[in-house]
Amino acid sequence: MTRLHPAVLFTALTTLALLYLPMLAVAILSFNQTRFGLQWTGFTFDWYVRLFNNAEIREATINTLFLAVVSTLIATVLGTMLAIALERYPWSKRVSNWLDNLLYLPVVTPDIIMAATLVVVFGVLRQVFAIFEAGMFTMILGHVTFQIAFVTLIVASRLRSLGADLDEAARDLYADYGYYLRRILLPLLAPGIVAGAMLAFTLSLDDFVISLFTAGPASQTLPLFIYASVRRGVTPEIHALSTIIFLATMLLVLFAERLSRR
């Protein structure tokens, strides 16, 4: 690798700083005493204390985590099963092409289009089944739909890199299918499954568009709450909340990165 031109170095670091600037501004303001405006009037933890006493935010946090945990569990199971089906069974070229397309569809569809299709299908199903009333249930269905593909892609790449040697060794030593699954395949796959689950979890926490379209009046999540507050006027609690979410995401990403490198 040749040495970098100073201009390249400068542009790179400026760009990187630009990515962090909005978060930094929010974080600084979350410690500012004043309720209105951007003037710095003194340091305070007040907004963080108020944040924890805010019932609406507490409920939104619980909703967000519940949604993320449940949808991640479902998507991880379904996605892992699909990955095993794709990588360990002799499908014909046509079937596997078709499956590949199905898998890339949620990845390349703009989220607003996917959200629109979900609104429509839930609207139709609602006529028949009352359970499809907009709320937590429809949100979970929506989140799982975009999570599956990402889990499958990660687990499938792990399956490919494992190769066939250990599978063959297990079978040569007379492992039956259940034993092979329990003691060979799933333990070997575990890092991939965990990485896929963490990606799905972060995607769910991060999602705004699908949530906005599928949410009901009683299923407010944090991103929706923040969006609503931004539109009607922000209180400094939102700054504190955003800062906490940012730090939590950062820890999650760094942890996932550690895990997937092993």
Binding site: M1, L16, L19, P22, A25, G37, L78, Y89, I112, S242
Partner: protein, 302 residues
Amino acid sequence: MGKLIVWFGELATPGQLYRRGLWWLLPATLWLLTLLVLPSLLLIALAFAERGQFGEIIWNFNLENFRRVLGYGVFGFTLDNLFIFMRTVLVAFLTTLFCVVLAFPLAFFIASRPPRTRYLWLALVIVPFWTNLVIRTYGWQMLFSPGTPFTEFARALGVVGEGQGLYPSAFAVYVGMITAFLPFLVLPLFSSVERIDWSLVEATQDLYASRVRTFMQGILPQVAPGLTVGVILTFIPAMGMFVIPDLLGGSRSLLMGNLIQQQFLGAARDWPYGAALSIGLVVITLIGLAIYRRQAKEVDIV
């Protein structure tokens, strides 16, 4: 079908394998078929339906919605929609272009770090991308409001007047979009830059190629696969974006995403029209990607 094969160490007939494979395959496939593929078909069908008086759907086949997408409304022909389409394409195109320009220095910078710290730098690019978009966009809203160093600087240049902010404006939308999508381009580009064969670049220099030619013929063809993935990952969501123009742009920065959102969530509540707009968005996006492919072929990128 009765023929025995050895598959991953297992002796079985293809029929046995297919039967068991189906159990692994079906749950996720059925899920995606019911909640992704069929709904998409339903959305297409819906575009040919009609909105009833109370927002309900009347299934009579007609092309009215598509006429409205093109601008033929109840009050005659207007150019409003076509302007919105053109603005959407322009914003997505310029966002992608600026992201490409900014991603190159960043990708080369990360690739030039020693292996020990390289992935830490890469993680630094990913972290903001995992932070909720609404929060990041709100951060820009604050940075561009009156009284911040940014707006003071712009006021000194005479761009904005006294007491005005840098948002809402097209400029704010671009800054928000570029910073939001940059990681989409940096990640795939970096994975290509990391694998560049530098002896080829040295060869161009030995042959007295200019800097531009070294880049065009020594570097660009080698990073093309990553660049293409990045362009696709940036352009598609940029076309469908509505959060950033909603929060950072004024009424003159409306994009197709905003228009679609209004049909499904706003007071308008016109699903058939929203469906027709969605189809329009997908078609325009695909045309855009097709043009990129053709251009890329001409300069040997793909």
